[in-house]
């Protein structure tokens, strides 16, 4: 599976624009998120889930980024989806990639993205009673945390 062929195949899905070689960057509409992840795993052979994170574009809302690899053919695919302003829900890709479980929990921890369909949507790194999501640009670092700060 070459990068060109992967771009070609990803481009056949409605709403997906793909480009680049290393990695192949696919801009995915949020409602296609899980379907495209399944496509990369089954059709492109990207069996290795690398990471999932998010970007806070302030007024433009959050963007969820996932990186998957096909280790046999050295194909790297970066999946990106813009959730839109004010929207914090995203489809979960845990049914496709088991490895996304903790990464999506961390993503919720830090950015507050709710992954619909996640089997265990709790906080993972921060304490259970933590308020707010620290990696959002709107989060103030001197937010008080009684009794210790």
């Amino acid at each position: 599976m070459t990068a060109e062929r992967a771009c070609e195949l990803l481009g056949t899905i409605a709403g997906v624009t793909a480009g680049g070689a290393a990695p192949v960057i696919a801009q995915v509409p949020p409602e296609q998120w899980e379907a495209v992840a399944r496509f990369t795993k089954d059709t492109l052979g990207c069996a290795f889930f690398s990471f999932c994170t998010a970007i806070d574009w302030k007024a433009d809302g959050l963007e969820v980024v996932a990186w998957v690899d096909n280790l046999e053919t050295n194909l790297a695919v970066q999946l990106r989806t813009k959730l839109g302003p004010g929207n914090t829900t995203c489809q979960s890709i845990v049914p496709v990639y088991r490895g996304a479980d903790w990464m999506e929990r961390e993503c919720f921890d830090m950015f507050g993205v709710r992954f619909v369909g996640h089997p265990d949507p709790r906080r993972i790194l921060l304490a259970d009673d933590w308020k707010g999501h620290p990696l959002l640009k709107s989060y103030a670092v001197d937010t008080p945390h009684p009794p210790y700060r």
Binding site: L126, A127, P134, V141, D142, H145, Y148, R149
Partner: protein, 213 residues
């Protein structure tokens, strides 16, 4: 499918000026003015001996003896938090050998006299640290090792770090450095021994060493 929110939603905090280093004084944990807790029986007996004619000589000598005994066997609880713990281990190992000062790293807070807070204290870790400190029997001492434990250090403006362990427990000696080399920690432990030798029968302590970030 609707996911239930695990935490109550709070309005996003607004940016404020990052507070100055001076603010640690507001939340600084101090040892109680009345000194450490003793049993009422012990207090009565020592007061009685002290007020008996000539008895003060006995209590003063006993104070000196107890302080010598205390400072000669300060057992730190083995409690490593971050990279400072590596330097702490080096201090405990054969080259720097604090065992000649009577310090044995002990893996039980109930048998320990000293807590060396070696590293970054996160907000999530602070309750556990407080709990281990509370499990140690009186009289107990605490050494804050490294910039992170002193004031938060390089992570001071991060979201997850307690800005100085003296917001959680009272601290006797501050050891500066990032991380402090074993010689520096050794110097701090010698300062601590000096403070312990000033420990009084009434539980009054020497002033903590000056805080250096």
């Amino acid at each position: 499918m609707e996911i239930k929110t695990p935490v109550p939603e709070v309005p996003a905090p607004v940016w404020k000026n990052i507070k100055d280093l001076q603010e640690w004084q507001e939340h600084h944990q101090r040892r109680p003015e009345t000194g450490d807790k003793h049993s009422a029986f012990f207090e009565q007996v020592t007061e009685g001996i002290h007020n008996f004619p000539g008895g003060f000589a006995l209590t003063t000598v006993a104070d000196g003896f107890f302080n010598w005994a205390r400072k000669s066997s300060v057992w730190p609880v083995s409690f490593g938090l971050a990279c400072c713990a590596i330097e702490m281990m080096a201090t405990f190992a054969s080259r720097f050998d604090v065992e000649r000062l009577g310090m044995v790293p002990w893996a039980s807070p109930r048998h320990s006299d000293l807590m060396i807070v070696s590293g970054t204290v996160t907000i999530k870790m602070a309750p556990m640290l407080k709990r281990i400190y509370d499990q140690m029997p009186d009289p107990k001492w605490a050494v804050s090792m490294g910039s992170c434990a002193n004031s938060g250090g390089p992570f001071r403006n991060g979201y997850h770090v307690v800005k100085g362990v003296d917001r959680v427990i009272p601290v006797d000696v501050y050891v500066p450095g990032c991380p402090p080399p074993p010689e520096s920690l050794l110097n701090g432990l010698l300062l601590l021994q000096d403070q312990i030798s000033h420990f009084r029968r009434t539980g009054q302590r020497a002033e903590p060493s000056p805080k250096v970030d």
